[in-house]
């Protein structure tokens, strides 16, 4: 099951360097309300963690935003908001993700949740989740597309 459907495209953004990806994340953070889940998709080195760092900066988190590939979850608090940064690099199936308790983070109405490799758990994501797909066009350039997961019927 793919969670990327072209008819659900909201926005396409071209980033020409890492800094622009981070800045885009920071601007995007300002539009987010608690209870939102973002599923980030794309291969290694396309800027998923950089974009998440931008979101954290947008919230005012000043700590280093390190990759949660090994730690799976990093939690940040700022100005009364909670940001969960998850990375499913080591979790390959929805069953493993559920056993890990991922539902507590996805459906947490009091936090904003960013999930790297979010396309690995398509059936666990709410229909109002935002899917962000990263592609590299050249070593520096990235194409970032924002989608609604699906229009619920």
């Amino acid at each position: 099951m793919t969670i990327i459907k072209s008819e659900n495209l909201i926005e396409k953004f071209i980033s020409n360097q890492e800094y622009e990806t981070e800045k885009k994340g920071a601007c995007f953070a300002k539009t987010l309300t608690c209870g939102t889940t973002l599923a980030l998709c794309g291969e290694f080195g396309v800027g998923k963690t950089v974009f998440t760092r931008g979101i954290a900066r947008g919230f005012g988190v000043e700590l280093p935003i390190t990759s949660p590939s090994f730690t799976i979850i990093q939690e940040y608090e700022c100005a009364g908001k909670t940001l969960y940064h998850l990375d499913l690099y080591r979790i390959e199936t929805e069953d493993s993700a559920l056993a890990f308790g991922i539902d507590e983070f996805i459906n947490n109405k009091n936090a904003i949740t960013v999930i790297e490799w979010g396309d690995r758990i398509p059936n666990l994501l709410d229909s109002d989740c935002i899917v962000i797909n990263f592609e590299s066009a050249s070593p520096d350039q990235r194409v970032i597309r924002f989608y609604k997961k699906q229009v619920s019927k």
């Binding site: 290694f44 080195g45 990759s67 090994f70 730690t71 080591r90 890990f100």
Partner: protein, 380 residues
């Protein structure tokens, strides 16, 4: 005083019994790497389930190995942070059960602090010598890359850390990009010995190479996401025939020698690949060595210790040794059994905590994120 230590923060169920902080009576690690190899990584849910299956067997074999009974244990220590929460909880819950049935003290331990102690577990004289301080510790593993200063009074300060990926993650993900299996770090180490370290150019993050300005606050910080991305792109330009190459690479790993190719092209292809691995490893190692030695010089450090899984990397050990000899600073690299996750470091550090009056009660919480590096209560 005999302390039983339990470590379940990641993929190892480890139990150890240590007497008076340094006399390791037993150190049992139930390695789960084989099981995870099927999945290409550590899977938390599996890890938690395995810890639960393993823990009583591992405790039994530790007691048997130490030739003591459970009633001879004076206290129980357990890793409380950081790590994968479901995995940590197995250890913490088991430890609570043990201390309430035996009516002995419980000590919760910070895994990172314990790693630093692990390098000194067989060096009691260094801990007790006031002239050993300040100590700088490089902690390098899959989840962490930190430089910590330990002062004479046991106060620890983080002076450098990674801003993105950990060094162990750079090795693990690099290995995956290079189509190597899990665990990737040891394979990169092994294969690098056959390659040319200066053939390909990879960035040394935040080191000011290629004229990039490094902000003063990043002088001791690390960055490894750039080198990973660079590998990805250099590999894209290179058309390795993976199926044929895979066979040759397996030969290098198993036979520890570079096989003759069927033809010149095949031999060259393998050499190119080995050169790329060696150059990649060199970039990660160089950044670690450069930052560590800057810390040694900046802070007038008297002892350098290195711990964590990546401290097993032979190239890192070799280059640090050369630099430390030149700077005339004593270098202590944790023994391999104390580099990777183990419980001896947990039980050993717990002795110092208990002696200085730090213990926990049954409401001890496990916490996945590292809150802070606590003071190491070494009595000197």
């Amino acid at each position: 005083m005999k302390i039983l230590g339990i470590e379940t923060s990641c993929d190892e169920t480890a139990v150890s019994i240590v007497e008076n902080g340094h006399n390791v009576l037993t150190n049992v690690v139930s390695s789960q790497i084989k099981k995870h190899a099927l999945y290409g990584g550590v899977i938390p849910e599996l890890a938690a389930r395995e810890h639960l299956n393993n823990i009583s067997t591992v405790i039994d074999s530790a007691l048997l190995d130490a030739r003591i009974g459970i009633n001879d244990i004076d206290a129980v220590a357990v890793t409380k942070t950081p790590g994968l929460l479901p995995a940590l909880l197995v250890g913490v819950s088991f430890a609570k059960g043990l201390v309430s049935s035996l009516n002995i003290p419980l000590i919760g331990i910070n895994h990172i602090t314990a790693h630093m102690f692990g390098a000194l577990i067989d060096r009691e004289s260094i801990i007790n010598d006031p002239d050993s301080y300040p100590v700088v510790s490089l902690i390098v593993s899959g989840g962490h890359t930190l430089l910590v200063i330990i002062e004479r009074d046991g106060n620890c300060t983080v002076i450098g850390r990674t801003l993105d990926d950990a060094a162990g993650e750079a090795f693990d993900k690099g290995a995956k990009i290079l189509q190597l299996s899990y665990p990737g770090g040891p394979l990169i180490d092994k294969l690098s010995r056959f390659g040319n370290v200066s053939r390909f150019n990879f960035p040394r993050g935040l080191c000011g190479a290629s004229g990039n300005f490094v902000k003063p606050e990043n002088r001791l910080n690390f960055s490894f996401s750039g080198v990973k991305t660079s590998l990805l792109y250099q590999l894209k330009e290179w058309d390795f025939g993976w199926s044929e190459l895979g066979q040759s690479v397996r030969k290098v790993i198993v036979e520890n020698t570079v096989p003759e190719g069927k033809n010149r092209n095949q031999s060259q292809n393998l050499m190119d690949y080995l050169d790329m691995i060696a150059s990649y490893q060199e970039a990660v190692v160089d950044a670690l060595v450069m930052k560590t030695m800057s810390a040694v010089k900046d802070r007038n450090v008297k002892t350098l210790i290195v711990c964590g899984g990546v401290a097993c990397n032979s190239r890192l050990r070799e280059k640090l040794k050369i630099e430390a000899d030149e700077t005339k600073v004593p270098l202590i690299i944790a023994k391999p059994e104390y580099c990777t996750d183990n419980a001896a470091m947990i039980a050993g550090l717990a002795y110092y905590q208990l002696v200085s009056g730090e213990k926990d009660d049954l409401d001890l919480d496990a916490s996945p994120s590292i809150k802070r590096i606590e003071q190491i209560p070494l009595n000197i």
